[in-house]
Amino acid sequence: MTQGKRVLVVDDDESIRDFVEMALTDDGYEVATAADGARALEVLKDFDAAVILLDMRMAGMDGWSFARAYKELPDRAPILVLTAARDAALSAADIEADAFLAKPFELRDLLGLVKRLVK
């Protein structure tokens, strides 16, 4: 059951934020977006995310810094790393993420992973 589950999308590329938001909304998720780690932390103050989609290389606060700050918070949602970096798996391992997808990815794979993680 995905209805009403909240997903936070953190990516500095507006175009990527847009289509990911559209796809998730279509599937019944409630979506919030942030252009960097600092804004994501702001959003999380009153957005109870069930999963966080996280880009690593971002202008402003990047994925690594966000992950460090996020670890300090009491209730944590699983993190799905979305990165165009050569070593996507390594980046995910770096921040002890729950899953990763290398960009460009299949929409199907993204939605499947999110569905699994929100449970």
């Binding site: 590329d13 559209m22 279509d26 460009p104």
Partner: protein, 530 residues
């Protein structure tokens, strides 16, 4: 205990040494001094001492230090042959006498408080005669000087050495006054401060008419001896011809010379080793630097590939994302929301445009590296060109106020597509590196034969330590901001402006931000001249 002549009679004439006239006064006063010195002679056989002016002396029988000493060494070294035995005896006696001569000279210089080399020399022969070694007759040709030119020719009448041989009725094949030569050269060496050697060129004990010596620095003595013998041999009969061979340079000095040469060659060798070592070090340093540079270049290239891949994948992600999103709707037979359709297609259009620019940059780089980037100049309205770029850039941002000032029109012979690429790069950078917005001032002016395009932003600027690098290939001034791009823009722009025969540089105004300035000549590009 006996005391002899406590008050020595003052001698009015110089009779204990014979020297050239100019030296006489000096030697006369030395004679006074030495006479007084020897006048205070106290022999105390009950204690076994002989003392002269407070210095202890010993008496040695002359024959025991000459002919008998030779005979003793000859019998000891019988098995090694006559030559070897004689060499041993000569070296021992010469070294010993040379050392005694030096030590005596030092003592007298101190006692007499003399500084001048000739003064220092003067007491030597007189002490020599008072001590019973020999009388000394210095020839007028002598040129005693404290340098390489030192030359002394002198006789030792009554030499204790030749005398000892003759008293035994013995005749030697070679000169025998070895200690005489050693002592006198030792004293002179100490007096003049240059190494000196004396060779007996004629000896009463070996068919000579006198005991005559030549003294000179070791490097010069052979030449003086040869000259002396050559001069003498001519008027003489052939039977004396063997004499030259019989006169030998004391081995003491030959050895010393060899040691000197050895030391010098050692120094030369060390110097060569040092030179080679520093050459090797330099070569090694160069190699280390080259390896480091190559490694750095590899790292930069590696980093570039990773950045380029990231930059290419980002628009690709949106492209595929929007395409799949729209496809999914189509497959579900849903009627697409017109707004979503428009947004998706716009994103696909925009992202593929971005990809195109990135691919163009990669192609430009590969052309530049191969030297194949060419420009195609045409008469172009530069103001119109810049205006088009400003308008296009203004449409992409709401936070920036991009304005154009300056000349109303400016024609120049440039490659319009390439110049547009440069101006777009500069304006895009101004927008990109002022993320909080603000004004971007673009100005086109004519200055002499050039058209100058300046783009000023009020953004992040460039930290001073990075300023020299911003035109480098793959360089990004704000990696910490990750503002995207491959770090190729300014590098390519500068190359394009260079190909136009112009210049591209950066200014960092006091008010902050960056001003990029490009100048291109109005008439001819450098490329065209070639």
């Amino acid at each position: 205990m006996t005391r002899q002549g406590v008050k020595a009679p003052k001698r009015r004439s110089l009779d204990t040494v014979s020297v050239p006239a100019p030296f006489r006064p000096l030697f006369l006063s030395a004679q006074d001094y030495v006479a007084r010195y020897f006048a205070r002679k106290v022999a105390n056989p009950k204690r076994g001492t002989i003392s002269i002016s407070g210095e202890r002396y010993i008496l040695v029988r002359a024959a025991s230090m000459s002919v008998e000493f030779f005979d003793l060494v000859m019998s000891l070294y019988r098995d090694k042959g006559k030559r070897e035995a004689r060499a041993v005896a000569n070296n021992l006696l010469f070294d010993l006498a040379h050392a005694i001569g030096k030590a005596d000279a030092k003592t007298f210089h101190r006692r007499m408080k003399v500084k001048d080399p000739i003064e220092k020399l003067s007491a030597g022969p007189i002490h020599f005669s008072f001590a019973g070694w020999a009388y000394v007759h210095i020839h007028a040709e002598s040129r005693p000087s404290a340098d390489d030119e030192f030359f002394l020719i002198y006789d030792h009448p009554y030499s204790f050495e030749s005398d000892a041989w003759r008293r035994r009725g013995r005749r030697s094949e070679v000169p025998v006054c070895i200690m005489n030569a050693g002592y006198s050269s030792g004293w002179c060496e100490e007096s003049f401060g240059v190494p000196l050697v004396a060779v007996e060129v004629e000896c009463l004990a070996s068919r000579g008419d006198r005991c005559r010596f030549v003294m000179a620095p070791p490097s010069r003595v052979e030449e003086h001896v040869a000259r002396y013998l050559g001069r003498r041999r001519r008027p003489r009969s052939a039977k004396k011809a063997g004499e030259a061979a019989a006169v030998s340079i004391p081995e003491f000095f030959q050895r010393k010379r060899m040691e000197d040469e050895l030391r010098q060659s050692h120094v030369r060798l060390e110097k060569r080793v040092e030179e080679r070592t520093s050459e090797l070090q330099a070569a090694n340093d160069l190699l280390v630097r080259e390896i480091a540079e190559r490694r750095r270049a590899e790292e930069v290239r590696d980093e570039f590939l990773s950045v380029a891949a990231h930059e290419l994948k980002t628009p690709l992600t949106s492209l595929r994302g929007f395409a799949q999103l729209l496809l999914r709707q189509a497959e579900r037979d849903e009627t697409p929301d017109p707004e979503r359709l428009r947004q998706g297609l716009a994103a696909i259009d925009q992202q593929s445009g971005k990809l195109g620019i990135l691919v163009d940059q990669l192609l430009d780089i590969s052309r530049l590296e191969a030297g194949r980037l060419v420009i195609e100049p045409r008469v172009t309205d530069v103001v119109g060109l810049v205006e088009a770029v400003v308008v296009a850039a203004g449409a992409t941002t709401e936070r920036h106020a991009i304005t154009l000032r300056g000349a109303r029109a400016a024609l120049a012979l440039v490659d319009p597509l390439r110049l547009e690429q440069v101006v777009t790069n500069l304006v895009d950078n101004a927008v990109k590196y002022s993320p909080r917005g603000g004004s971007v001032d673009v100005e086109v002016t004519k200055q002499g034969g050039e058209i100058v395009i300046a783009v000023r932003d009020r953004g992040l600027g460039v930290p001073p330590k990075h300023r020299s690098l911003i035109f480098d290939r793959f360089y990004q001034a704000h990696t910490e901001h990750r503002l995207g791009g491959m770090g190729l823009g300014l590098y390519i722009s500068r190359q394009i402006i260079d190909l136009h025969g112009g210049r591209l540089w950066a200014r960092f105004p006091r008010g902050g931000g960056t001003q990029m300035v490009a100048s291109v000549p109005v008439r001819r590009s450098r490329k065209e001249k070639k």
